[in-house]
């Protein structure tokens, strides 16, 4: 018996892909409007794939663990008094703190070696780190909300959380990075 049919896969996937395309276009539009800043400091472009990728990965890993816990019944879809939820959130926050410090340090080195002055290199790395932490907080809450809402609505969170979080991570990643760069006055 043939289970997978081309027509069905294509027809079911296309609307989801278009919806997530529209969300990521916002991220693309933000890049386009900041083209002056990028021309001045091209290292910003180098920061985009890591911050988007890490934001998406942290959310996807948390989402996968929460989905499994919801299916297993060790987690209930409500916010209060959930030790499993608290521990998962703490683990994600700790991972993100370590990883954004490490990558921030790598960016400081790259910036300084490529001839950007010391203070500016430091504020670039600090802007990347701060953007990463703010992004993590936002991604953790977006993951919890999408996992709980989809589970309560009778959908399988395994199918819903990851596509939503990767697209949301793109938009928020680019937004947090540019806001942090403006705040730190890089």
């Amino acid at each position: 018996m043939v289970v997978y049919r081309v027509k069905r896969i294509v027809l079911e996937s296309f609307p989801v892909l278009i919806a997530s395309m529209i969300i990521s276009l916002v991220a693309g539009y933000m890049l386009n409007s900041s083209i002056q800043k990028i021309a001045e400091l091209p290292i910003i472009l180098m920061m985009i794939p890591p911050i988007n990728g890490l934001g998406g990965n942290i959310g996807s890993i948390l989402g996968a663990r929460l989905s499994s816990a919801l299916h297993l019944g060790t987690l209930e879809p409500r916010l209060r008094g959930q030790r499993v939820l608290q521990r998962n959130m703490a683990a994600s926050a700790l991972v993100s703190f370590v990883i954004f410090s490490l990558i921030g340090a790598i960016f400081f080195t790259i910036a300084y070696v490529s001839g950007i002055p010391l203070v500016r290199s430091l504020s670039l790395a600090l802007a990347f780190f701060t953007a990463g932490i703010v992004l993590t907080v936002a991604v953790i809450f977006a993951t919890i909300i999408s996992a709980f809402v989809s589970f309560r609505g009778g959908l399988d969170p395994d199918n819903v959380v990851i596509p939503i979080i990767t697209s949301v991570g793109d938009v928020l990643g680019v937004t947090c990075l540019f806001v942090a760069i403006i705040i730190f006055g890089v």
């Binding site: 289970v3 081309v6 990965n57 490490l102």
Partner: protein, 192 residues
Amino acid sequence: MMARGVNIRSIVVQGISILFLCALIELSAGRVFEAMRGYFINLLPGLIVMVPPLLDLRGNINGALASRLGTALHAGLIEPRLKLSVEIKANLISSLILSVITPATIGLVSFGVNLLTSAPTIGLLELMVKLIAIAVFAGFLSGLILALMTVFVAVASYARGWDPDNITSPLMATIGDFVTIACIYLAVFLVV
């Protein structure tokens, strides 16, 4: 009792190792992205708008393919051998069709966004054709490379006794970003 199931230490150690590896690959993707800056800034307005959607698309098409293959391998619908069975063929062909029609839409919509937001520096028809051509070429080429890799990684990890659900998606999402940016670079180089 229940909370004992969540071992923070192992999540943190595993998480940091995998994410650090992913971050290094993403850094190389970032390096290629940075090398393309001349095209974004001077040559082709609207090009940078397409990059996040194309990256995202890649992850979504391959993530879904990886997820379906994981389920099919667990359910025994696909044998863990590198043979082009009917089921694998249907999965591959659908991913490739999606890798053409969605990038074409992305190219067209990016042209629209560009039309609404900035003054054109080259002919409109030329800009539209170029943006769509870059999106479709980069989308299809990266789609082909990554779909074959996804099948290989899913089948190979299952044959070794690993759960493809845990391996294929994170690995392919990260490799996907790098391959997609490299394909966009190649497409821009050929088209512009």
